[in-house]
Amino acid sequence: MDTMIEISYFIAAILFIIGLRRMSSPVTAHGGIVWAGVGMLVATLITFFYPGMENYLLMTVAIAIGGGLAFWSGKTVAMTNMPQMIALYNGMGGGAAGAIAAVELLRGEFHSSVFLALALLGALIGSISFSGSLVAFAKLQGWVRRPLRFPGQQYFNIGIFLVAVALGGQLLVSHDFSGAVILGFFVLALAYGIFMALPIGGADMPVVISLFNALTGLAVAFEGFVLGNAAMIIAGTVVGSAGTLLTQLMARAMNRSIGNVLFSSFGASGAAGGEESVEGSMKPIEAADAGIMMAYAKKVIIVPGYGMAVAQAQHKIKELMTQLLARGIEVKFAIHPVAGRMPGHMNVLLAEADVPYDRLYDLDEINAEFAQADVALVIGANDVVNPMARSNPDSPIYGMPILNADQAQNVIVIKRGQGKGFSGVENGLFFADNTRMLYGDGQAMVGELIQAIKTL
């Protein structure tokens, strides 16, 4: 039976890697998740035959409860709420890794200090990922509205972290697995996760979510070492390294280091440096006029942002696209890597609205085309189209790669009000001569645009 188990885990690991590989193309991606799913099923079922196990009934109950709730929530969650759902599931994985470590620590049967160290490391990372992801979930869900910041926060956080590490070191050196030290270790690790995630603002969420994803992967791998489970080591490590790469991509798309996202209060510094003067004024436009402008264009590029998700405007946008295409107008979508609240957020929403993925273009692919576009329609995006990132070295977002929407002949910006974006930075695009502001709710305004085009 042992050999059967080993072979099954081996097969599962292969299926995971093939599945992940297939997810790297839109054509095979759906098959990819099914392959990985089969791998998971094989690994889970064979584990019931693991030697020397008890508590089968309770185990089945636990799987039924956790799996059932997750199945129901996963099936019913709206696409716009996907970032917080993924954060939640990710946190659960981290929590599970922490729980494994807790059971192993309480049992206290470690053959060598290496395994103990790995168990502690996995416990630390898993717990941080657990509580941090829950905070990210609460923020994305709108339960925690403002980033919480206080003076000396970084030192406070580092203090918590160091004490947690010290308690871990205490366990490692003494091999004395008394309840109090273990409890203190976990409480502080969990507290660190909370305090680490609290000051992080909404626009930084893509970085944070993928970072926690990578951390959970690592925690799983470390616990895999402790249990001598190859499937956990391989799957966890693959996720850890993939997640690290994705986190780097996200951070680079914001021209910031991962450390900067985690440890600096971006919004605060942005407000202080946001006094730069902007030439010109914001010029409003009526939906009817904007509709005419688009109806007689040859090429329209649509730039969606988080505001589109908030207004649930993706279906209206699809309708607008259909109208424009029917008039023989070329329509493309320009997607910034960090638009929205998780990596690829906009792509998922547009896919939900049946916008074909071959109309979605990445920053590098589309930027040269703005100059040939007659109209760039910006809906709910702000910082990712701010030309000050190119031109104003004093701007907090200077150096961030942006979509060059300002280079289009005409720019129409759909925006709820006249306020600044998340970063509190004035957006030069809104004041440009070729920009017109269409004020109102995203969904309603796109609806009016469609009406305007239809009546022509």
């Binding site: 693991y50 080591i233 993939a242």
Partner: protein
């Protein structure tokens, strides 16, 4: 049990595999990729089951139970949302 240096080899090779596999993923698939890898670390379920199966004291059993429950949530939830998202990705041709 997997011993020291072998484990290190597995770790290293898996890390490179993850990096290589992901480095080719187009930007439009970043979300499914992230939630797909989120699903894959749901393999922690296997470990949680083993930990719970070998629990002796009531406290170990309770923590193990929570662990299995969380891990099952990670695996099932991760699969369901990833599948839902990937189901939606269609090209112009498929849309007819």
């Amino acid at each position: 049990m997997i011993e020291g240096i072998t484990a290190l080899y597995i770790f290293m090779l898996a890390a490179f595999t993850g990096y290589e596999v992901i480095s080719r993923v187009p930007v439009i698939l970043h979300t499914p990729l992230m939630s797909g890898s989120n699903f894959i670390h749901g393999i922690v379920l296997v470990g949680a089951m083993v930990a719970m199966g070998h629990a002796h004291t009531p406290l170990e059993l309770i923590i193990g139970f929570i662990g299995v429950m969380l891990a099952a949530g990670n695996a099932v939830g991760g699969y369901v949302v990833t599948e839902r998202m990937l189901e939606m990705f269609k090209s112009s041709k498929e849309n007819g």
